[in-house]
Symmetry: C2
């Protein structure tokens, strides 16, 4: 019963390819709009207009607006994970790896402020959504895992006074996130030079951790 259908498989495959292509078109259009104007300022109708389909078509490919957003974030955060993995691969001094990992995290956030907002700042907290829960674990959480490895390496090399891997990782994350999110969401505040602030944070935290 499987072979019987093979003769007509071509069109089915073609249609599936076309569906996948449209899905990508939606993602591309939505990403561009979201990143340019912010999630809240872009309506489903605007996205639909951009791809020249009716608004309801989007709902054939994504459950709702939030799902569309998460699909985009997943894509983008793959980039961060890749960069952070590259950093930890050509690793010499574990502390230097950690330092550069943190910098990569913050730089990434500042380079894609709207993506960062979407995943770590706004974070549309739907109540009782277990699917979303799992999805989050595969996104920014992978970046967290990378950071965790960096911290673990430092602790294993006995570079730090504090030995609670989870606590130190979360603190480093909070440090990076604090700077990133403030710089993004309060751009009019009279900040000191951005790179100085970032370096000061990372260096101070690491100095404070050293034995």
């Amino acid at each position: 019963m499987l072979n019987r259908a093979i003769g007509h498989m071509g069109s089915k495959q073609r249609r599936e390819r076309e569906k996948e292509a449209l899905r990508q078109d939606i993602l591309d259009a939505a990403r561009e709009l979201f990143v340019e104007e912010g999630y809240d300022n872009v309506s489903m109708r605007r996205v639909a207009e951009k791809i020249e389909y009716s608004p309801t078509t989007i709902y054939l490919y994504f459950e709702d607006k939030a799902s569309l957003l998460y699909a985009i974030c997943e894509e983008t955060f793959a980039g961060l994970t890749k960069r952070m993995e590259a950093i930890s691969r050509d690793g010499d001094d574990p502390i230097e790896v950690l330092r550069r990992g943190c910098r990569a995290y913050v730089d990434f956030g500042l380079k894609y402020p709207n993506h960062y907002k979407l995943t770590f700042i706004n974070h549309p907290q739907h109540p009782r959504d277990e699917k979303r829960h799992l999805r989050e674990e595969s996104m920014g959480m992978k970046a967290y895992g990378n950071l965790r490895s960096g911290v673990e390496a430092c602790i294993k090399a006995k570079k730090f006074r504090e030995t609670n891997v989870e606590a130190v990782t979360q603190m480093m994350w909070a440090g990076g996130h604090g700077i990133t999110s403030l710089l993004i969401s309060m751009p009019d505040f009279p900040w000191v030079k951005k790179t100085d602030l970032i370096d000061l944070m990372i260096d101070t935290l690491i100095a404070g951790l050293r034995a």
Copy 2:
């Protein structure tokens, strides 16, 4: 022309009192709803329903929804400022004052998560609104000023290696904000014990700053 009216001033004053009372009623109703259910999940119509007036009445007292929000935040943040000023008054060791100021900041954020969200996380960034710009300076910025004083005291007492007051203040703020905002906006993440994380951050930053 001023005295002529005095005979009839009573009613005018009464009406002004009543207007002020209604303004407060709106603020109280909105605060309760915003804090309980979050800014985005509360409509102007809901606020109006609660005070038993028509929705448009609110617009006679507040320019728009965001202004209503900012008025509430102003009120609430007076509490934080007061607490932080109290801490710096009975100050012995400047480092201890700074430490306790930071803790007060984070504790405040965790106690009023929706207020904190409104002022420092969501921060409805209206484009080209200069009035709002000024208003912000009188709100959370006062708390920033307090933190700044604490940092300045430490630097003047030659307790810190780094002597750039602004940079250190902004770093301390980012540290506190990072923890506060992450704990608020990702409540499902497997955090280590909250107080431990807060203390670790503050202690590590201060340790890293010491000469």
